[in-house]
Amino acid sequence: MIEARNISVAIGGKRIVSHVDFTARPGEVSAIVGPNGSGKTTLLKALTGELAYTGTVTLNGRDLSAMKPVEAATLRAVLPQSTALSFPFTVREIVRLGLIGGRSGVLPGEDARLPERALARVDLDGFAGRFYQELSGGEQQRVQLARVLCQVWAPVLEGRPRYLFLDEPVSSLDVKHQLIIMNIARDFARRDGGVVAILHDLNLTAMYADRIFVLHGGQLAAAGTPKDVLNDELIEKVFDCRLKVGALPAGNTPFVLPQSAA
């Protein structure tokens, strides 16, 4: 379980996140949603220890601020929104970096083959020999996800659940790969790991999240199941946009929802 109590983060004297309580349970996908600049990424960075915060964050009951980097790395992996690479690494070399600090949780001899399996999971079979910088933005994002998956390959290690933190994991992906990646997240949660994801697509959120945390102006505007949270009033208040939940478009305008995926 990830428990954050009364989290506030200030950057350069400006308070970006204030007094947020957050809980992510193993076995669940917890989504963080909210408009641009509402503090989603800042909250995620506090939960992963990247930014200084006030309040407490515990991972499986242990205080995050007291953990060494390598201890935290065995409990959770983090996919950033974007990653700039400074040297010409191959895709395999990048994915293999996921294995350097944490523990994948597979048998010792199988670590060497893990990059291939992780690449296959994100639909990048045969990309191991390509140069990272030659790939498209969406492909790069999936390579990073493969690296992150290697780090916590087994969702449960020695009886303790592990966690995936994903910052907009599907932001630059086509619809097929959005579904593939979200299914990976849900599968990780099904096997008793925990997932914390920042999402923008409310349909994907409704489809995959077990619990939604809505941020608005750095504060928690609502938290609960998709059914409880996603309603007309909240969307209008938070996103400043009059939308109707569950309304079909008028006339015969085509629309495609991820929920219709076979």
């Binding site: 983090v78 700039a84 010409p88 191959t90 990048i94 944490g102 910088q133």
Partner: protein, 366 residues
């Protein structure tokens, strides 16, 4: 496109599955051979006709040479002149190349080099201060530290510049390359100006020493000097392999390296202290030898990729070999006089550096 120019060249030397470790190990074996050849060449060539082969042969076999006086002269030349010079060349070549690779990993940029960003200038300032002021203002320091005063001063000079650069160029975990290079230029200029003041104060004898020392040379190699700076360089280089995995992770950014379980802050401090120590020691004995630290890692990244587990040892080997070759050129091109080696490495290295800039014009994030 920028992406292509950065990745185009190395694809030649790469296995199809993206795993370059076997190839890197092969290249390292070749470089060991190249270093052995360079050492042999340096031991056997020189202004005198002393035969290193015979000396080494006699030493191994215990044979008693027929002409005792000639053999004694040759032994003197080989043991006391060429050998320390070769050993110093190996140590300094390795130190400069590895420090270049580590700095580039740390600053996440292929253009970071201790000489370019002012670390060497800081070391110079420290060393010149001891040379010029060692008998007057800084007499207590030189008295207390003896022969260690010069390398220590060079070390702290380099350390001060590196820490200052890092503090200036890094904001919220991101090191700005433009700031780093520009700050490096400013700090270099300041260090050189202070060095200039010291030179202004120097007497004629110190002046001549300083000029040649600043141009860079292995000519002053003696066993006692190696005894002083050798351990510093060897210790610093021995620490570097422990940084290689962390430096690899750092290529993804400081935050991601931390998420991967790397103690980033400790990594940065170890790297900075190690680089300052090795560069300071190198500058203390051989003056400013430029471009080894930028050319060697760059060539090797093209050949075996940027994985620091292989890049660091390969840099040490190639840096040592190249410096021995440059030293051989310096000794022979205007024989019987001797060109400062810093001139040789600059003449060969500066155009190469420009070539890197032109090739990567779109990539270098200035």
């Amino acid at each position: 496109m920028a992406e292509q120019s950065i990745a185009g060249a190395p694809s030649r030397a790469m296995a199809a599955d993206g795993d370059r470790s076997a190839w890197a190990r092969f290249v390292i074996a070749l470089l060991c051979l190249a270093l052995a050849l360079s050492v042999f060449m340096s031991l056997t060539s020189g202004a005198s006709d002393a035969s290193a082969v015979r000396v080494i042969h006699d030493w191994f076999t215990g044979a008693v040479p027929s002409d005792g006086a000639l053999a004694a002269r040759d032994r003197l030349i080989v043991y006391d002149i060429r050998m320390p010079r070769v050993l110093l060349g190996v140590l300094i070549g390795a130190a400069l190349a590895v420090c270049g690779a580590v700095m580039q990993g740390l600053f996440r940029n292929p253009l970071a080099d201790p000489g370019l960003i002012g670390v060497s200038a800081g070391s110079s300032l420290g060393a010149v201060a001891i040379i010029v002021l060692g008998t007057t203002w800084l007499a207590p320091v030189t008295l207390a530290l003896g022969t260690l005063a010069l390398p220590l001063a060079a070390f702290f000079g380099g350390l001060a510049v590196t820490l200052l650069l890092y503090a200036i160029a890094t904001r919220q975990g991101r090191t700005s390359v433009a700031t780093m290079l520009l700050a490096g230029i400013a700090i270099s200029a300041l260090a050189m100006a202070l060095t200039g003041v010291l030179i202004f104060m120097a007497d004629d004898r110190q002046l001549r020493d300083l000029t040649f020392w600043q141009l860079g040379s292995l000519a002053g190699a003696t066993w006692p000097k190696i005894g002083t700076v050798g351990p510093v360089i060897v210790l610093a280089l021995a620490a570097m392999p422990f940084l290689s995995r962390g430096l690899n992770a750092l290529a993804l950014g400081e935050a991601t390296a931390g998420h991967l379980g790397i103690p980033v802050q400790r990594l940065k401090y170890t790297a900075i202290v190690g680089v300052s120590a090795a560069v300071g020691a190198s500058v203390a004995v051989s003056g400013g030898i430029g471009f080894i630290g930028i050319v060697v890692p760059h060539v090797l990244r093209l050949a075996i990729g940027p994985d620091n587990r292989y890049l660091l040892p390969a840099s040490a080997l190639l840096g040592a070999s190249l410096l021995l070759i440059a030293d051989a050129v310096a000794r022979t091109v205007v024989a019987p006089a001797e060109l400062p080696i810093g001139i040789v490495t600059a003449v060969a290295g500066a155009p190469f550096f420009l070539w890197i800039l032109l090739r990567k014009r779109g990539v270098v994030d200035l």
